[in-house]
Symmetry: C2
Subunit: 377 residues, 2 copies
């Protein structure tokens, strides 16, 4: 198998942009990524497009506008794990020798659709009120009862990610928050406050991948993808609401492939649609033991400069969460961080990074799909 | 690269089934395919799911019901080429050594959604009335004017495919038609009649793919995928409305990969959402010269027993066209035909087969995506 590297990345500003044409803005992001890599775009042999809201031939529509309409373009989806899945497929295409260079685009325009994820009549969890925030509120409540996690500790996740978001020019929010402000904000689903939930977002992201030969030709400091995993689960797999069996299984597979452990990760962009989710994933991904997520955030271990900088970009909570773009933007953030190009939010001496998404079904109890990339400079 | 074989296949009956639960019926089709192959389903290392109507984690929902929820599942889309794209990805996973066996499912429930492909406000073709039937009606009109193709010749495509559909137990229609009946049916978009358009369909299909070692272990008569291609286009690429530049480019790439030519194809399941489309593809895929599609059907060359049996299953026109299922069902039909298991519709001595889909954008002028598999027993 060929080694695979990231050699270019771009993202649009994330936010509330109802007047932005998604195909045109994603075209601009794709072009920014191409320019950042210095490649001849006609050499791109394989393209994956991650987009939930309107699949069909979204990728083809974007690339037709760049005059790059002739190659293999695959539109793929795995709910909120769509972007990570698109990176997985593009890496597989290069690793298996299908092409020398591939491109991944991810995009979503959530402001244009009222009720972005419509209820499925066959979804009994939805029918009984177990929508996503309710599921994560139950996880929070159980974690608090089982491990003594406090509402202040959960709020600290949002405070940290909003602090990081203030340092990221492309973040949806530049809004410093205190624990008190979070806990005084509106309750969405007890014990979860609105400032502990990710926003509705529009935006796009793109990365360029290359095999070793092409990476050496075009890139002075390529970032290798040393592991890429996509696995699935069913919420019934999970014996205990305070853990994501799937995220742990994916992380263990990725650590094995990469030959590293959680103690080696310097920067991690993980899936934080809610503050409790990030705290939960400290444990699921092995950064701390079960039940210690609350102390992990309280002791500053997930801050920039801490044991592992979690969501230095601002994460879904502050940077925003345009579903199809998220996993691609996470890999872009890793690219910038590992190359020392992350500006004010730069994690010092970052050598090994991680991107992690999880998505669907609409139960909040465990994910249907989970993706992970581990990257190294 | 590993050789890749089809070792099992299944499809549901296609038709109008508004009361059928799509996840449950697709689960049953998946299980039928597993049983047909005799494999231990826990050995399936990679799954692709082709579904347009409700992407998200559709594949995960299906496989959770089979207790097979742990592996890599990718939901993919390329409009009407989704099923062929899903086969392409699963073949790539095996060819590159990611897994020994993979499974592809495709499914759609079009009766549950009013206006299955909603208009895109940014689609100027749609806004000006250039919906899919209008685009193909223009192709028909131009073909008639340029080459003298007659409305009777176009109708003959539908007559043939409905005759074949009568022989297929899983076909949506078992309705013999005459040329007169077709031409007396309601005009949808002049010169196109309702009996020259595919129906709204529900249904699912599944195939099991394996590398050489697993194929030999489980299957007495495996069918090799000797070419698999997915390419993209933009309607602006097409210099002449009477040809699909994209389908021709895909066919040429597939012929090259397979080391065969159009004269070697014994059976071809091609994309016939409209009668004119099949006639057009006789030329696009190289079965006859430009402009000779009308004569090709009139002389019976695309009949079972003719030069190349086109759409012996009944095709989209008669078997039905549940979008995500279509490309997978085409590969299933090839599997049965090449193994001599196609019952009353069996093509005599079929050794080499083809599956071809094209899809999106909603212009009818040329496709955004096109897939092809060439198979050999």
């Amino acid at each position: 198998m060929e080694k695979v590297y990231v050699i270019g990345a771009a993202m649009s500003s994330f936010g509330y942009y109802p007047d932005r044409n998604l195909v045109e803005s994603t075209r601009d992001t794709a072009w920014d990524a191409i320019k950042s890599s210095g490649i001849d775009p006609r050499e791109i042999g394989f393209i994956t497009a991650s987009h939930m809201g309107r699949g069909g031939t979204f990728g083809q529509r974007v690339f037709a506008q760049l005059g790059l309409s002739g190659g293999t373009i695959i539109n793929c989806e795995n709910a909120c794990a769509s972007g990570g899945t698109a990176v997985y497929l593009a890496r597989m295409a290069i690793a298996s020798g299908v092409c020398d260079m591939a491109m991944v685009i991810g995009a979503e325009k959530m402001t244009s659709i009222q009720g972005f994820i419509p209820p499925d009549p066959a979804d009994y969890n939805g029918a009984t009120g177990m929508v996503i925030p309710a599921g994560f509120a139950m996880i929070a409540r159980t974690h608090m009862e089982k491990y003594g996690t406090t509402k202040e500790q959960i709020a600290m996740v949002s405070v940290k990610n909003h602090r990081n978001g203030c340092l990221n020019p492309r973040s949806q929010f530049k809004m410093p928050l205190t624990v008190e402000q979070v806990l005084e904000s509106k309750i969405i689903c007890d014990p979860m406050h609105v400032y502990e939930c990710c926003p509705t977002s529009d935006g796009s992201a793109a990365v360029i991948l290359a095999n070793e030969k092409a990476a050496k030709k075009y890139c002075g400091k390529p970032v290798e993808i040393i592991a890429s995993v996509v696995l699935s689960g069913a919420y019934t797999d999970r014996p205990d609401r305070t853990m994501s069996e799937l995220s742990t299984r994916v992380a263990n597979a990725a650590y094995k492939e990469a030959g590293v452990g959680p103690e080696d990760i310097d920067i991690c962009e993980l899936h934080d649609p809610f503050a409790i989710t990030e705290l939960w994933h400290y444990e699921n991904l092995g950064f701390c033991k079960r039940g210690e997520g609350g102390r992990f955030i309280e002791e500053g271990k997930s801050e920039i400069g801490g044991q592992v900088a979690v969501n230095p970009s601002g994460g879904l909570l502050s940077k925003g969460h345009p579903l199809g773009a998220t996993g691609v933007a996470q890999v872009a953030e890793n690219f910038w961080q590992l190359r020392g190009e992350a500006g004010e939010r730069q994690v010092p001496n970052a050598k090994i990074g991680m991107a992690h998404t999880m998505g669907g079904p609409v139960t909040g109890l465990d994910a249907g799909a989970c993706s992970m990339q581990i990257l190294k400079v």
